[in-house]
Subunit: 350 residues, 4 copies
């Protein structure tokens, strides 16, 4: 029994769907139905060529994929088209690379709003901030948590930048999905399958960090989980892998940028801050990531890195961040493009 | 402000606790109270020597630990005592190494019961089985899930072996804790902090697999999460780390056995099956793990490995498993001990 | 044009060889002739089936191997026979595992002779010592060098143990080959091809340490270099690979023992000392290596580790070494064998 | 007894040197004298402060370094000056990054000369070519060897590009030093200490590739060997490290570029070809390396990659190489500089 994935053209009418499923049954197969962006995904198990032929011929079915391939939905498409993730007026994976910046965690509203304003002024088009922080010690500061989520809406409205934030717990997905524009899967959760399933279903774009021991293939498998459960908006994020070398916190694998863009149609962004582990290397590694073809950067910025409650060593202050974006602007120009602009503030405040 | 951990002697009376907390407040500190096995854990933040001295002098406080050390509860104790985890009549971390065996996942009740009987006969003292399987592909068999949990109780009653099973989702902790003797944290979830918190609170021993890119220190940090949220029964499990070498599925790090036993008071068991990735290497690696000082082994066994729905390549059949335990028995004897016995079936069936 | 390796039965007469080479030429091929133990190796490049058939049929040719396989000479043989390396009355790869012990480097003759006597008394059958030490700093002690080589002969005669010692420089091969029983290729030189070629030609058994980033396949490729240039006596030595884990100096890959023994007919020994990097872990890791199926162990021993000029941290003193060999003897017995005995001293002194 | 390194101002007269060495002896120390570029290096072992003070005060001594620091000569200088290596009119480590290109190995003179001309036309300022190739199999093509060395002089004269080529064997150093402008130490030989000593003494600049399991610190230790034995012209070359990720041949560690430039005064170039292992990734990784701050690039180019006898997969053809240098030129401009120019051909032919 082989596996096939059939994507409908659009949300096909119930009655047509029922006919289709019945026909699959007649041919000896079975189908499970899941949402997939604005379409439906039929995960079909069945006996082979005849079934595929009929699925492919069906007027309500747009695409039939081989479900036994490693990652049928995340893998590069036969027609070469690429996914562009649209977030509050910003495109990730479009012509212009996107700078996403902000504090590792927000200790208080001031830190968040000041940083958001500063990164917007310096050229960031999106804001990143952690409210739930995975920390090595159970006694460390773990972010503002559920209380901090309200702040995200405020920052969005006040500063007009779409917001990316991490979710750690399946029980928080709904709350955070209501307040953020992009939900982040952290490196330590790349293979937390219940979380991937819930995030796939949440109806909000997902930024998927590569696990620190994950091969590119495993990273795409994790993306497949998201895509197989409903979302069609996934952004891959390379953030450094674990190797024997410890002079940087992790080893930023920039070769993974062209590789992932070849193997998949999803946008690929890079987080140089966690890989570097030291602010003084972030500029060089940001520039390198852009030159390697990244669709965006995720950079940690803090008003006063020495006092940050988490990851201060690797955070840029406002001046250093402005210098980095200046450099990135010149490199983007050399690559024949420019940095993506922040959304118009007037539009961002409806 | 420094951090201290104060463990009470036993479940101290509410009124004594109130006095203690008030006194901490007077000295400029603050305390958060959590259960810790049969005792209470006070996570105290405060200004230093005077507070520590008073905590140490308090008759209801047994131990005061430096909360700014990397893993105060999981780290080796000053007095050198070690944790022995007692599970349904079996001791893990006692004098005799424990063989824990069973199928990777149970496709059906027959596979589970047949394997349980066979591994018991061959010398296993505990049963392992997966009901929730983290699989690379969203379209693979993911275990029997919640429906399979009832089977665990049946196997326990029928065969009389305590059961270890993995939990993937915080929403399943309560259900599984009611049916299994030991809850397993898989390698991919070693830093899934919400899961660690819930498992720490569940009141059931936890077997913590080492993450595939986790240092020994990070593994102990994860154990600290469990211990800091209530349980005092944690078993560490080495299962192979990810390296450049791919002739085995992972690289079994047996040096981590003496290292973890030196740095921590927790028992350390080894899973040679996932590391080997091939049944024909499991015997040699099991023997090596025992000789390295492991407190137990976690071995995959299946009645018909070629037909297993997951991890068949690395599963032993009954004959091969019996050969392995024969070898382990001889090595245990050479080490001056023997394999832990399975609980008496009459006792196991109350 | 394919490649074939033809091994002659014994040192075939010049005239027969000339006929054979001429015939290869007639069939469109060409042959390069090299010694191979007591036989000759013909590296044949030629057009295919007819040539192979004729080679195979030739009365002077014993074996024809496919030269385009990854490591035709080092790979497992079709008939399953294994190489036993015989060194001064000791067999490596035979029924009994061999303990090889001695100082990392010998600072002076006393250290060498005292240690040799002590390890012999405790059960070692061979002596290891470094005269040329690869050191990280150009300003460190680099061993006694060429002056120390005379000591090897003295130790051999005095104590009666065959000697293993490392060679770093192609210009030293001849000198050391005259004084030692086994020449060691260090991990850092595993792919030093000119050195491998000269050692292959030296007519003395070679112990080949696995490079710290070498896959098992690459290790066998390095063995192929040795075998392709004359020697038939190669011992593989696992000594720990480099991974992200640093609580031991290297990660001892004991899974590589059954893997290398499956893929190759060569004996496999293990050096637990360099992997551990700390004497207190050496016992557990030696026992584990033996249980994993190693044909021998290479253990660092020093009369006064705290004063050793190199690698003192990982060296056992005499008492600790005797405890380790006691344990190894019990494990060997559990495996149905015993440790190889040292040669009779009377025989060792001709 | 501590260790000090004293560098003389210039080649001090024999008589002054004799006085200095005698004085060191009077103060209880001992000195070994080695050449160091145009100066002398005294490796002094002695009792401490008084000796240092006297060395520092001596008019013939320029610098006194702490010989017990990890890499006193290779480490960053107190005054922040950096080494610029000058090779036949090209500066490595100066203001302009240098593109070094050519075939992995030259199968014949035509391949070498055609490629040299093409890379010069496209913007390379130096030529790289392998005559001695370290190959995994003893039966593969190993380069033209000593016969090919004469070709280097011809290429230099004909095309006017300085030449970098690898040396594998200490016995070839003198020959190759007479024909090439820069001698390359391959990754597999980074800790081949006899080779480093001979190359340090050869009086020709050395390009030192990072070992595939070498930390940045170990790479600088290897550079220290070169510097401690005579040369003052060392170029570091990052070429990818070995990690668990295999979608590229090695993992290019571009974080090592800013790290090595911070820890050392030596120029740092990058070889994207070996790391990528596939020509289609070389452009992105070259651009990234330049943006990360590399002082140059080492790129494999071949007239007909599909027919190359080694490493064809990762070689660019002439058209692809010209596209890459076009991109590099734009990025260099964005960084406020430009690519280093090739030497004037008239000057190159004396």
């Amino acid at each position: 029994m082989a596996k096939y994935l059939a994507l409908t053209n659009e949300r096909v009418a119930e009655e047509h769907l029922a006919v289709l499923v019945a026909r699959i049954g007649e041919l000896g197969g079975a189908a499970e139905i899941r949402p997939s962006g604005t379409r439906l995904l039929l995960v079909v198990t069945g006996p082979g060529p005849e079934l595929v032929a009929e699925l492919a011929a069906c007027e309500h079915v747009g695409t039939v994929l081989d479900g036994d391939r490693p990652h049928p939905l995340a893998g590069a498409r036969a027609n070469g088209t690429r996914t562009v993730v649209r977030v509050g007026g910003v495109e990730i994976g479009g012509d212009r690379p996107v700078v996403i910046a902000g504090p590792c965690s927000a200790e208080n509203p001031r830190v968040l709003l000041d940083t958001a304003r500063a990164v917007r002024d310096a050229g960031a088009a999106m804001l990143r901030v952690g409210m739930f922080k995975p920390r090595t010690s159970p006694y460390s500061f773990h972010g503002l948590g559920r209380e901090g989520i309200a702040l995200l809406a405020e920052a969005r409205h006040e500063i007009g930048l779409p917001v990316v934030t991490e979710v750690l717990d399946v029980r928080d997905v709904e709350l955070v999905a209501g307040a953020a524009d992009v939900l982040q899967v952290g490196a330590r959760n790349m293979q937390n399958y219940p979380l991937l399933v819930e995030l796939g279903r949440a109806g909000v774009p997902v930024l998927l960090k590569r696990g620190l021991a994950a091969t590119v293939a495993e990273w795409l498998h994790a993306a497949e989980y998201l895509l197989a459960h409903g979302t069609s908006d996934v952004v891959l994020c390379e953030r450094g892998i674990r190797t024997f070398e410890r002079s940087t916190r992790f080893t930023l694998d920039l070769g993974a940028v062209p590789v992932a863009k070849e193997l998949s149609h999803l946008p690929v962004v890079v987080d140089p801050s966690h890989a570097a582990g030291a602010a003084r290397y972030v500029g060089a590694m940001s520039a390198a990531a852009l030159a390697a073809g990244a669709d965006g950067l995720l950079i940690e910025v803090h008003p006063d890195p020495a006092r940050a409650l988490s990851d201060g060593d690797q955070s840029l202050d406002f001046t250093a961040f402005a210098a980095v974006t200046g450099q990135l602007r010149r490199i983007a120009a050399a690559l024949g493009t420019g940095l993506a602009a922040a959304p118009d503030l007037a539009l961002a405040r409806p």
